[in-house]
């Protein structure tokens, strides 16, 4: 097989990190550097202290070489994350509004650019952890409403989706198969009932329904 089983029907956490690294962040260059033509886009000519928006993977690469500082996005702040946490508690059936790649982006910035944080990184870290946990519990509760037709999970991020994906697929598939076999059975029964009813007295049938 050209693609091992582990890669079928799901993404790996590394692949989600990869996607998150395509998101843009703002950097403040510390030195000038000529532009670079890339396959996907162009790294613009950098001038010291002139802000630029570049993909995350590039920002952390330059950061590692001490070529720039990264402007930590506003949502990675104690204030913002705490407010989301409060919302998570206040609305038990809703997920609060966080970016599509909030987990990997926050983690990457904590790992590569903790000195660029305004709020203490350890506080951010523990808030992220709290948010992650409370949302996971919610997602699990949401799964209870799973049926064979659909489930709606607005507000979940890709990493969170990926974590519950195998479980949801499995349950939905089982429910679908059960439902299909029930349908077949019901059709068979209604067919045989129709036959039986034709042989039987109509009144007695009505009686049964009235007792219900």
């Amino acid at each position: 097989m050209s693609l091992p089983k582990a890669y079928q029907q799901n993404l790996s956490p590394q692949e989600i990190n990869f996607l998150a690294e395509q998101e843009l962040v703002t950097i403040i260059p510390r030195y000038g550097m000529n532009g670079v033509q890339l396959i996907g886009a162009k790294l613009p000519k950098l001038r010291a202290l002139n802000r630029e928006q570049i993909p995350m993977w590039l920002a952390t690469l330059l950061k590692k070489q001490e070529k720039c500082n990264i402007v930590v996005p506003e949502w990675i702040s104690v204030e913002y994350l705490r407010a989301r946490y409060d919302e998570e508690i206040k609305y038990p059936t809703k997920f609060s509004n966080l970016p599509w790649h909030w987990l990997p982006i926050a983690k990457k910035l904590l790992d590569y650019a903790s000195d660029d944080f305004i709020d203490p990184p350890h506080e951010i870290r523990s808030l992220l952890q709290d948010l992650r946990e409370i949302r996971l519990v919610k997602a699990r509760k949401g799964i209870r409403e799973l049926n064979h037709v659909y489930i709606q999970l607005d507000g979940l991020s890709l990493m969170e989706i990926n974590e519950i994906r195998p479980f949801i697929f499995e349950v939905m598939d089982q429910l679908r198969k059960m439902n299909d076999s029930l349908k077949v059975k019901a059709e068979e029964e209604s067919a045989s009932q129709a036959n039986a009813a034709a042989d039987r007295d109509d009144d007695s049938d009505d009686d049964i329904y009235q007792k219900d």
């Binding site: 029907q9 996607l19 550097m33 070529k67 659909y150 709606q152 979940l156 949801i168 697929f169 679908r176």
Partner: protein, 223 residues
Amino acid sequence: MDFDDILKEFEASKRPGHNEDELRAEDLQRLSTAWINERMVPELLPYENELIDRVLIRIRKQVEQIELNSIELQTHEKEIKLRLVVVESELDRVQFLIRSYTRTRLQKIDKYSLYIRSNDTESAKLSNNELTYMERHLELLLELYNSQFLKNLPESLQAIDETGGGVSMIEEPDLDRPVFVKALADNVVDVDDEEVELTTNGIYVLRYRAVMDLVKVGDVRVL
């Protein structure tokens, strides 16, 4: 780089309302989407011929650039080195996308080859290279089955694509398998006699069959 490449590039640059950089960024986005779609949906999707061609041309040019610059690098000039690191890192990323995309497709092509072959719409989804691969791989497999046991069976049992007898030997993709999608427009879809309302930005899990047309027109995004 041959003449065809130059032409293609020229065509690409002519597209209205786009400068080359926007087009490149867009193509990378499209490539990511194509990769995720291929990974997540049960059926084989049409091969992204033009997109892949464009990106391959850029890759080839980039590799040439690297080779050119590595020579200069002996001077150990710091900025050249860093620029090269940037170029190579990005190259690795794009190569990964195409690699994973291609191998995901091959896995599906191998799995559903008998079905794909029996159906013109399905066959049309393959690139020429993929089509050659599929035919040849089937040949090799048949050769293996034959030499191992098939040729010694009674003639009536020598086919490998029987569909009768209650169990089909031709495996088809299960279009009722669930997918995660994000709605990019409001729509109503039918799932198993029930109507499901998709609201823009909502995230849903439902069987692929219900949204496959919406995926193709871009009204939902596969996650």
